[in-house]
Symmetry: C2
Subunit: 191 residues, 2 copies
DNA sequence: CGAAATTAATTAACTAACTTTACTATTTCT
DNA sequence: AGAAATAGTAAAGTTAGTTAATTAATTTCG
C-alpha cells in the first residue's frame, strides 16, 4: 500500500537520485542534510562576523584581511588576486581594502615593476590583531568540532574539497538548464 | 629544530588546538578546510539563487517557499515559525511572503482560532513549481555529490548535524568573549 | 470584569554587502 | 607609434537583510 497503485496522488519526485544518497529509496535524509548545511553556513557567517568584530572590522573586511594574510607572501598581493580567491568583484575589494588601510590594518604600495599594480600586506597592527584573534578562535573552533574523530575530520576535509570542485561543474550545468527555461516568472512585462 | 629555541620569531598560534584536527601539529589542513567550506557555501548560495530563478523568485524567496512546503502540514504555518526555522527576522518573512502571495505561489489566510495568526500554504501553482524544479534539482545534486560513497554521505550527514548543534553553543561562547573585549576598534568617536 | 502585559504580524526606514558600469593609468603586443 | 589588454578605482545602484515602532488580538490576573 504505498503509492504503487490505486488513485494515490502522483508520488512526488526526488531532489536527488544517486543511490548512495537515498535511504530506503527516500531523499528525506538528503533534504535534512541540505537543511543542516544551510543552517551551518548561516552560523559560520555569524562566526565570521564576530571574529571580525573582535578584530574591529566587518565580517567581509575580516575575510579580506585573512586573504591578504594568506596570499601576501614576501612581496604583497594585488587586488585582483584577492578578488579571484574570494570570488568577489575587484571593485569591492578595492573599497574594503581602502577601509582597512584607513584603519591601519593593511599597508598598500604601488608595485614599482608594474605601476598599475598594488602590493598589499598586513601592517604590523593587522598581523597583531589576527594573532590576538587566535586566542578566541582556537577555543571556538575546538568547540564547534569537539565531537569529531580524526577519521571523520579526514573524511570531511576530503569530501569538502571534492564538493567544491564538483559544485563548480554543477553550477555550469545549472546555468545551462536555467537559461533554457526562461519559462516561469510572474513578471509584469510580457515575456 | 623547529621554533623550539633560538631567535626565530615567536611561533604563530594556531586557529584550532584539538589534536584530531591537527596534522603533524599544524593547523594548515584545518585552515584549508575552512576555506573550502567557505567556497562551498558561496556556491550553494549560488545554486539556491538559480533554483529560485528557475521557480521565478529570488534566492531568499525560494528558501522561504521551501520552508512553507516543509512546515505547512495540513493547517498551514505562521510567519514566526518560518522565521525561527530559517533564522531570519519575522519582518523579513512577512515582506517576502507578501511577494510570494502576490506572485500566486503562496496562499494566506487568517487563523480563525487566533486572528493575530496567519496560515500559510503553498498554492497549487507554488507546489507545481517546486515539483517541476526537481527535474533539474536531481541532476544538479547528483552532480555535486557524484563522488560520494554511501559511507561518506552517512558520515557527512552525521557530522553536519552535530556541527549545527555545536556551532550554536560555540556562538554563545563567542558572544561571551567578544562582549568582554570591546578592545580593538578603530572608531572615530571616543569609546 | 477590565487593565496590563504579551504575542503575531506588519510597516517603514535603514544598513551591509555586494555588483555593474564607466573610467583612468599603465603595460604589452605588433 | 597605436591598438589592445590589464589593474585598479569611483560612483551609483541593487539585494538581502535588520531594527524599531505600530497595530491588533489574546492572555493574565488583581
Amino acid at each position: 500500500m504505498k503509492a504503487t497503485s490505486g488513485k494515490a496522488k502522483a508520488a512526488p519526485a526526488k531532489t536527488v537520485t544517486k543511490k548512495e544518497l537515498l535511504t530506503k529509496g527516500s531523499d528525506a535524509n538528503f533534504r535534512q542534510y541540505i537543511h543542516d548545511l544551510f543552517a551551518f553556513s548561516v552560523r559560520m557567517q555569524d562566526v565570521r562576523n564576530r571574529f571580525g568584530a573582535f578584530v574591529g572590522v566587518s565580517g567581509s573586511q575580516y575575510i579580506i584581511l585573512l586573504a591578504v594574510s594568506n596570499l601576501q607572501g614576501q612581496e604583497g598581493v594585488g587586488v585582483n588576486v584577492i578578488a579571484k580567491h574570494l570570488q568577489l568583484s575587484s571593485a569591492f575589494i578595492t573599497m574594503e581594502i581602502n577601509n582597512l588601510v584607513t584603519a591601519g590594518l593593511v599597508d598598500k604600495a604601488t608595485d614599482p615593476a608594474d605601476r598599475r599594480r598594488v602590493r598589499l600586506m598586513l601592517s604590523a597592527e593587522g598581523a597583531q590583531r589576527l594573532e590576538n584573534l587566535k586566542t578566541i578562535q582556537a577555543p571556538v573552533n575546538d568547540a564547534i568540532y569537539s565531537s569529531l574523530t580524526r577519521e571523520e575530520f579526514e573524511t570531511l576535509r576530503d569530501v569538502m574539497s571534492r564538493l567544491v570542485q564538483h559544485s563548480a561543474e554543477a553550477l555550469a550545468l545549472l546555468d545551462f538548464y536555467v537559461a533554457k527555461s526562461s519559462s516561469n516568472k510572474t513578471g509584469t512585462y510580457g515575456g
